[in-house]
Amino acid sequence: MSNYQGDFNVPHHGAPEGPIESMWSDYKFKAPLINPKNKRKYKVIVVGSGLAGGSTAATLGELGYQVECFCYQDSPRRAHSIAAQGGINAAKNYRNDGDSVYRLFYDTIKGGDFRSREQNVYRLAEVSGNIIDQCVAQGVPFAREYGGLLDNRSFGGAQVSRTFYAAGQTGQQLLIGCYQALSKEIAKGSVTMHRRHEMIELVLVEGEAKGIVVRDMVTGEISTHSADAVVLATGGYGNVFFLSTNAMGCNVTATFRAYKKGAYMANPCFTQIHPTCIPVSGEYQSKLTLMSESLRNDGRVWAPKNAADAKKDPADIPEEDRDYFLERKYPAFGNLAPRDISSRAAKEVCDEGRGVGPTGLGVYLDFEEAIGTYGEDTIRARYGNLFQMYSKITGEDPYKRPMRIYPAVHYTMGGLWVDYNLMSNVPGLHVIGEANFSDHGANRLGASALMQGLSDGYFVLPSTITKYLSKAKPGAVTTDHPAFVEAKESAEARINKLMSINGSRSVDSLHKKLGKIMWEKCGMARSEEGLKEAIQELKELKEEFWSDVRITGTADSFNMELEKAYRVADFIEFGELMCHDALNREESCGGHFRVEHQFTDADPEVQAGTTQAGEAKRDDENFAYIAAWEHQEGAEAPALHKEMLDYKEVKLSVRSYQ
């Protein structure tokens, strides 16, 4: 059993009792309201301007609050939500194929390998339909059928077609809709936008979140901002691996600073490795590019049956020598098996020496059959921009030759712990979108990240934040408070310390080193031995970083190296926290695969045919809980708190996609 003792000292999740179907309406009815005249007196800080942050800033602005919104990019329109390709789920059942709120709820819980909180997930499914209505009203140009109604496609882990899309640019179109809503509020003066400003510290006043410290990335000026509540919508931490599909600037600093101030970090080891990315081609590589899951609607994944064929031209490998391994292993879901399962299947094939491409770390995603059936034009209309991206990066033509793909870090399910109000254990600190942990358990289903970001931002947080605000006296704290002065000084001291090291290593070279440790020891397969080694190596890396990093330029100017250094310093410590979480969780579930915990031929479930040898083996008896970690200054390891998962609706079962 785990060496981390743990207690149950987590605040109650705050979801009301009663039937799940009416829980959210009951909650809203009972939640305190703030009258329109009083709303004006409250100020809310929103950090991040992606789908979650942008939509909540716009909606809070519409409601009458004073909103201050911050983003590190040069415009809120550039947040990384923009890169989401395939689509957004909603339980509209426009296809009449048996979809419902309950089915979306169930699929999401099961897809998350039974490690998410039922109440939050049900609410997500419940408001999913409203998101589509809202976006269409904003002018988001979703794909339509000839009859003029909205089109749908299928995504992994579901047997219904509930994904709405705009070619391969769904995230972009949703974010532009959200950015336009935000722009409308900026024009009205209800939202003040701070571009190229990065949050570097959270400010607590008497234990409650009342503001932030930010750095102006152009002038280097450090300033403090106070508010009645703080909302973090700062995305995920995939860049802890250096190589991921995240944008270059995505970082953990905002949430990690909050963690250091006492906010619990929940399930940080739950990271999603996406099966279909363009494989790594060399050391110089700065990021990985996703090829949307939607491609698996028409593309067939295969590898050569014989390792001897791995280096052959795919056209020279006859049909009978190809292994369509997803179709073989998971006949019910086939190429649309969920991400964690598909990724592991691809890794297994490569581990067996059957991987393709120059590095041997790749499998084929083949459109030959689909092009034969529907014609090249139809395939171009469905995925044109993705095929173009692929050919620009690789120099190969995917209409003629199957794509080569390999799993890559894509999304992080873990994040700051929040209750049903989307508030962390630190009063006043709210966390939404990918930055929180709540909805996707141990594995997120495709097309659900956009849904969660917009659900939290447009529909949930603007209602739940009143629970905290109604108890707070508006404008009670200003930046004159000593807590702000102190937080600013400590952030400045940290920057000065970084600038004074004057070592020999570039930030990127140390970030790459971090990425290697994380990918090898806390990536697709994790073991007790590897994780223990990783924790040791990360401690050494932290020391190396703080004694040998080189940051050129000055702190009081635009300085890319300083920005990166500030982020990487946090990533290194955060990596250690991830390893502790992975070490503690002695089971395999979703994206978290502990090699010691997998089904073998000796297991009755395998003999009964419910699952197969090598699949993830969950341990519900000992690990059906959310691991919420609390920072302990100076201690060897963080403190573990457990929120037990109390499933009332869904029966825990072996997750089968056969």
Binding site: R144, S183, Y284
Partner: protein, 255 residues
């Protein structure tokens, strides 16, 4: 063909907005042909840092052609010489060994240079704030399928909405006109039924904001379309001109 390249870079270096700026000659060595243009700059920057010099500053984020943040003028062409791509999607296999490459920021009076190759494009945000949206409150929408929209119309709106707001159109234009950017947004929203109630207000507001930001006039050279990474059509500009005229006449007539 060799798998790495040696290149002579002429890079624009400018400490801040006030600085005059100048070209600096840098050698880029051992550049893999499969690297992207920005990865080539990463390699050069790593070398600069090793030599204890400040790296070349440039804007970038998603590195997959969709965020619109990267913005380099490469040998005089915004996003470089390849069609339908952003700077981050330009790969070094498009260059030859010993090429000289001129790297500059997007240049326009309305896009002041912040440092080296990074420019301030907030003028685009202010144009959107002047009407580039549909004023619909969260929660007030009807069921999405209660408003059927012809597929062709939706596809056209999507083609205009594909703009990533990078500013290549401005950088490519000898007049630094923002007409392609503005027209793409106006047509995206004004062509849809949801955008009708505010269509006149939208086009007037956005065009006037564009003028006040210091962008130049369009003289139909269509360099913008050639440089656009999302291949937004100049037909949008013709449609913008006609909707602007209708709106302005309506305004003059007091309707």
């Amino acid at each position: 063909m060799s798998t790495t390249l040696t290149l002579n870079l002429k890079v624009w270096r400018q400490a801040n907005t006030q600085d005059k700026g100048k070209f600096e000659t840098l050698k880029a060595e051992d550049i893999p042909v499969d690297a992207s243009f920005l990865e080539m700059l990463d390699i050069v920057n790593e070398q600069l840092i090793n030599d204890n010099r400040e790296p070349i500053h440039f804007d970038h984020d998603c590195r997959e052609g969709i965020c619109g943040m990267c913005s380099l003028n490469i040998n005089g062409i915004p996003h470089g010489k390849d069609s339908g791509i952003t700077t981050c999607q330009l790969h070094m296999r498009k260059f030859n060994n010993n090429d000289t490459i001129w790297v500059e920021p997007f240049r326009s009076k309305a896009f002041p240079i912040i440092k080296d190759l990074a420019v301030d494009r907030t003028a685009f945000d202010r144009i959107i704030e002047a009407g580039g949206y549909i004023d619909v409150r969260t929660g007030s929408a009807q069921d999405a399928n209660s408003l059927p929209i012809q597929k062709e119309l939706a596809d056209d709106a999507f083609a205009s909405a594909a703009c990533i707001g990078c500013g290549a159109c401005v950088a490519a234009c000898k007049n630094a006109s923002a007409m392609l950017f503005v027209s793409a947004k106006v047509n995206h929203l004004n062509s849809l039924p949801q955008g009708q109630p505010e269509k006149n207000k939208r086009v007037l507001g956005m065009v006037r904001q564009m003028d006040s930001e210091g962008f130049g006039n369009c003289t139909n050279q269509f360099e913008c379309e050639a440089a656009c990474p999302k291949e937004i059509s100049v037909d949008n500009i013709a449609k913008l001109n006609s909707s602007y005229t209708i709106a302005a006449l309506g305004e003059a007539a007091g309707s």
